[in-house]
């Protein structure tokens, strides 16, 4: 369980970073947080609704051609298409991982389950917040922040 958890924490930080990069309004960030809690609490039953939410978010990104502020205007669109595909696949994978961990927890005794769910949800939401903070603090260094 340690490796999936580590991947999930990294994934949540990635979500936070991209949510900040795409200047997602607070409602979108709240939805992302709720998805984390929902997936952990429900298990496999959350995969279809959560994937639908992810797909709608990606559809909005594509339909309204939303780019992060650092994305160069003169670069070919195909690189953005690659990025969106990776974001979509990665987000669906994160949702499945979240559901897998949630399902494992559902089979544990009540008090233990509630405790671990609470700790995990808090940790993952903190990872989300950390990812957003990293973007706001101009990380990573190779992004040409001074030209934005």
């Amino acid at each position: 369980m340690a490796l999936p958890l580590a991947i999930l924490i990294l994934g949540m930080a990635g979500w936070g970073w991209w949510l900040a990069a795409l200047s997602v309004p607070p409602a979108g960030i709240v939805i992302a947080g709720l998805l984390v809690v929902y997936g952990l609490g429900v298990g496999w039953g959350s995969v279809v609704p959560a994937s639908a939410v992810i797909s709608v978010a990606i559809a909005l990104l594509v339909a309204f051609d939303i780019f992060p502020a650092f994305w160069p205007a003169n670069i070919h669109y195909k690189y953005w298409a690659y990025t969106v595909l990776v974001l979509w696949g990665g987000s669906v994978a994160a949702v499945c991982l979240l559901a897998k961990i949630g399902q494992t927890l559902r089979q544990r005794p009540g008090v233990y389950r509630w405790g671990v769910q609470l700790v995990l949800a808090t940790g993952l939401l903190l990872a989300l917040q950390t990812g957003a903070s990293l973007y706001q603090n101009h990380w990573p260094g190779w992004v040409p922040w001074e030209h934005l």
Binding site: Y38, V42, P49, V62, F64, D65, Y77, A81, Y82, L85
Partner: protein
């Protein structure tokens, strides 16, 4: 006696004895074991074998399916399961389940709405995936890049 009736209820509800392990398809012996111990003891070996044979005849035999997709959707207020099965129809007699006209109409409306919803969601995802793959491969079908609605 209380335990005996509890076991009977479990078998009726789950098709097997109460257990923590995943449910397996019940065998004739599972049902035979639910006969009251006194009655069981009174059965001869031949009678027992015959009862077991008749139970096996009465039990439904699931046919192999070409598609057997099952998943659950948990909406917090309620948990739903969705099953999609495709297989050869081997039924010789008509399925006779008495339902009212209103129920039939309601079932049709819900089935059409669900199918349309799934179709729409799946089609949108497929179109978007194809569009992104096409764009990632650098294929530009229309002159001038589509910059999204409102741009």
């Amino acid at each position: 006696m209380k335990t005996y009736w509890y076991k009977i209820r479990q078998v009726v509800r789950t098709g097997g004895p109460p257990s923590e392990t995943p449910r397996l398809p019940p065998a004739p012996a599972t049902y035979l074991a639910q006969i009251h111990p006194e009655v069981q003891a009174s059965l001869s070996l031949r009678q027992r074998a015959e009862v077991e044979r008749v139970i096996a005849l009465a039990m439904p035999k699931p046919a192999p399916k070409l598609v057997d997709l099952r998943f659950t959707i948990d909406l917090l207020v309620s948990r739903y399961f969705i099953v999609l099965m495709v297989g050869k129809d081997r039924r010789r007699t008509r399925r006779d389940v008495p339902v009212s006209r209103l129920t039939k109409f309601g079932n049709w409306v819900m089935a059409v709405a669900l199918l349309l919803g799934f179709n729409l969601a799946l089609s949108t995802s497929v179109v978007m995936l194809v569009y992104l793959i096409k764009s990632a491969l650098g294929i530009n079908l229309l002159p001038g890049h589509f910059r999204g609605f409102g741009n």
